[in-house]
């Protein structure tokens, strides 16, 4: 590959915390890679696995689910349920050998702009090491 691989990351960010954290990173002018496309959701608990699957099958190189810290979910327990759901999803992808490492779950509060920026950096670095998601160019999935 002549050009450096720039991963595409889809981020499902909770309105009440991680999304606000991302916003804060922006307004505080904290630099972070532009690889992430953010989708605002009302709670990490509202992210069904179908969305994560879809992003991966359409060629996202990594997916981030950002939610409130345990105990802080606006809807009390959405993030605990999201956690179970993503554990299950990763478990299934592991059995199928379909790179569960491409799914990231992070608890980032509204005041953690720096953590958001660091998380995106970390994901970009790790994903560059992994290389592009092989599902992206599959026409027969």
């Amino acid at each position: 590959m002549s050009e450096e691989f720039e991963p595409k990351i889809v981020g499902f960010l909770c309105n009440w915390c991680s999304y606000a954290g991302a916003d804060l990173a922006g307004t505080s002018r904290i630099q972070y890679p532009s690889n992430i496309r953010v989708i605002r959701v009302m709670c990490s608990g509202s992210v069904d696995t179908v969305y994560v699957n879809r992003a991966l099958l359409e060629g996202a190189d990594a997916v981030l689910i950002g939610g409130c810290h345990p105990g802080d979910c606006h809807y009390l327990n959405g993030n605990y349920k999201a956690r179970r759901r993503m554990v299950l999803m990763k478990n299934i992808l592991e059995t199928l050998g379909l790179e569960p490492e491409r799914i990231w779950v992070r608890w980032i509060s509204a005041s953690e702009g720096q953590k958001f920026a660091d998380t995106v950096k970390e994901i970009v670095e790790r994903t560059k090491e992994m290389g592009p998601n092989p599902m992206g160019k599959r026409w027969n999935v």
Binding site: G67, V87, G97, R138, W139
Partner: protein, 367 residues
């Protein structure tokens, strides 16, 4: 009363059990019985609801699983449970599916008593319909041996052929089938149901040992099955596995615990404007239609695998003969282990995806 034997009349297992069920109707203890009954041609058998004792012609060991009785009980009771007493005869995987449906509020066991039968395994529909040799499929399966080679792979590696969560068990393991069937009444309701039926004492130890043995040998087959398929991994193998999938969703429709009233994949959620498809082609370079086969399968696994009872109905329903159990059994094994969950174990247990513990999976979300 716990471990007893139902003596077999004239060496005829089918009639013996049928008479017992007839008796339940005649005595007025139950208003209806649901049990496997062969169609007149003998080519098939279905869970059949019978209220007229004269029409009772059950063959509870018919080695065929055209549908799950669990699904049928759900259909019959989901609008409203029964006021009248019903007895259902079902096999272990059907019992497990039924328990999962109860947890999903899609089946109501009010006034329902369950008789579980040991399952010797089932054949694919077409094998059953034109069974090779002189024996009937039922005779062949009860004799064991030879019949195994025709059995569905789900049955060969069955998770547990002996039903647990029932009021009465009718057993074939650990008894001399020329003499009798093992009867285990496990609940008060079961005891009441069998009141007045003549049973003889039998050797409980032989039963315990036989059940242990059959479970052990099935576990071994299942472990080997999983081991032998451990190379179906990675994007190349998985896409190849589903290459012949025509995205008909039959697997989902046949599945007893695929619980949604309307599947997301049958809804209009995926109906996009033509421009979106063109954008997809531009993004990926090309894509096959129908789209989203893999998305369907992986999403389906995420939604139902923790409740999967490994009945193999999905595989049986597939028009492309995709050996779905080859990947479903390993996925179910690993996922259910992760959540320490066994579908059908306990109807009071909550489904793993609706509960949580604060102190679990704590590394997820942090690092």
């Amino acid at each position: 009363m716990a471990e007893m034997m139902l003596p077999i009349q004239d060496g005829d297992i089918k009639t013996t059990v049928n008479d017992l069920l007839k008796g339940l109707l005649r005595s007025g203890k139950v208003s209806a019985v649901i049990a496997m009954q062969e169609t007149p041609s003998g080519k098939s058998a279905f869970p059949t609801m019978v209220s007229d004792p004269e029409k009772m012609d059950a063959n509870v060991f018919a080695p065929l699983l055209p549908v799950s009785t669990g699904t049928m009980i759900s259909r019959i009771t989901k609008v409203r449970g029964s006021n009248k007493p019903i007895t259902v005869v079902l096999r272990s995987c059907e019992m497990r599916a039924l328990m999962e449906l109860v947890k999903l509020n899609q089946a109501d066991l009010t006034n329902v008593t369950l008789i579980g039968v040991d399952c010797p395994g089932t054949f694919p529909m077409n094998t059953y319909s034109s069974f090779p040799g002189d024996k009937t499929p039922t005779e062949a399966v009860l004799e064991g041996g030879e019949a195994e080679k025709y059995m569905r792979s789900a049955c060969l590696s069955c998770k547990d052929p002996v039903p647990e969560n029932v009021d009465v068990v009718i057993g074939i393991y650990g008894v001399d089938l020329k003499k009798g069937l093992f009867i285990d009444t496990r609940t008060d309701a079961g005891e009441k149901l069998l009141e007045g039926i003549e049973l003889v004492k039998t050797d409980a130890k032989a039963r315990v040992k036989a059940v242990e043995d059959v479970r052990k040998s099935k576990d071994a087959v299942r472990a080997k099955f999983i081991e032998e398929r451990s190379d179906i991994k990675g994007i190349d193998k998985i896409t190849e596995f589903f290459d012949t999938c025509v995205n008909c969703h039959n697997c989902m429709k046949a599945c007893p615990i695929c619980y949604c009233k309307e599947c997301l994949f049958d809804s209009s959620v995926f109906d996009l404007e033509a421009n979106k498809y063109v954008a997809k082609a531009e993004n990926k370079g090309s894509f096959k239609t129908p789209t989203d086969s893999m998305l369907f399968h992986i999403t389906r696994f995420n939604h139902m695998i923790l409740s999967c009872v490994e009945c193999g109905l999905c595989e049986q329903a597939c028009p492309s003969n995709i050996p779905l159990m080859d990947i479903i059994i390993p996925i179910a094994e690993n996922a259910q282990k992760e959540f320490e969950y066994l579908p059908g174990r306990d109807s009071e247990e909550k489904l793993p995806m609706i509960v949580y513990r604060e102190d679990e999976f704590q590394d997820v979300g942090e690092k």
